[in-house]
Amino acid sequence: MQVQWKLVFHIFWTFFKISPVTFGGGYAMIPFIIKEIVEKRKWLTNDDINDVIALSQTVPGAVAVNTATFIGYRIAGIRGALAAMIGVSLPTFLIVLTLGVSYYYIHDNPKLEAAFVSIRVTIVAIIVYAAIKIAKTAISDKTTYFIMAAGVPVLFFIHPVIAILFGAITGLIVVPLKRKLGYNIDLQKSKDEDPTINPDYFMGAGI
């Protein structure tokens, strides 16, 4: 039992140390995970990590948090999952909270206000950039293009959560339907999308 808790603490501490490098997206964490988890501690193999990353992309939530939680679970069950999740979230929680508190006290500063006028425009550009990034993997044919194009005006009228459910259901209906009509749909991801092969591709994606 003693050993078990020691392991759980090690999991927490490992992710606590990795967490602050997740600047600009959870994929920045992957090289550090491989170094710490696979090479140094030998808790998992490279193949395990590939599986974990693929699953983390499938499950809703941030890739960094999901990956950590998956790895924690693989190593030490539910306690490991919880330790990894808290470990990966705590440092960024404290950093973000510090920034939030600082903003609260100095947001009336005219220089800071001026900075944010420009930053707000840049944020719109970053969101457009995120859309372009995801469109490259999401829009593979006319059907997906249509879903995207129809989705934007529809979102002015229906709740985004409902829209997400609609999107998922559309996929479930359309794919077998198109196959029945004789269209060939390639659902396999290209090699370019594998973050372990090409981490640069994911810069800024899935944040």
Binding site: L55, R74, V96
Partner: protein
């Protein structure tokens, strides 16, 4: 009551959080408007700070909005709200569906989901541009400088492949030079 609203909002957001934090902005924006936690301009600033910090954008935004709405306890409740679904879903999937990403139903679902996530992000960009009065057809110092900042930011991200964090910081410095 505010704490419960925060928890509920971010707990739901956590369950549908596909395709990264920016896709979740429309859900967060809707709740912010409905409950009146903060102004649209303040929300954009919070998303900017979330993007500058390490960690996931959605969780960072939740923490910052929670703090603005209800102090430290608001931040904690919002963080737990957005993280809990990940914990529940990851443990469930890890325990029962080890090869979930090869499941044909999941692959079909993502075929429809991913383009919709793209719409959500485009929608978020339009909403923010409108909320911050960025879409302005008149020719003025403001409108021209906005176009310039937008173009330069997108160029730095797409062509120069800069880290978004640096782009935000440089943009802030440019803002101080232009508008103060």
């Amino acid at each position: 009551m505010v704490l419960w609203e925060l928890f509920k909002t971010f707990f739901i957001t956590g369950f549908v959080s596909f395709g990264g934090g920016y896709a979740m902005i429309p859900i967060i924006e809707k709740a912010v408007t409905e409950y009146g936690w903060i102004s649209a301009e303040r929300l954009t600033n919070m998303i900017a700070i979330a993007g500058m910090s390490p960690g996931p954008i959605a969780a960072n935004s939740a923490i910052l909005i929670g703090y603005s709405a209800a102090g430290i306890s608001g931040a904690i409740v919002s963080a737990i709200g957005i993280l809990l679904p990940s914990l529940i879903l990851v443990i469930t999937v890890a325990a029962f569906f080890v090869k979930l990403h090869h499941n044909p139903l999941v692959e079909r679902m993502f075929y429809g989901l991913k383009p919709l996530v793209t719409s959500l992000i485009i929608f978020a960009a339009i909403k923010f541009a409108l909320a911050n009065n960025m879409i302005n057809l008149g020719i003025s110092f403001r409108s021209i400088s906005y176009c310039l900042i937008f173009g330069l930011s997108l160029f730095a991200l797409l062509k120069l492949r800069w880290n978004p964090v640096y782009v935000i910081i440089l943009s802030g410095l440019l803002g101080v030079a232009l508008y103060s």
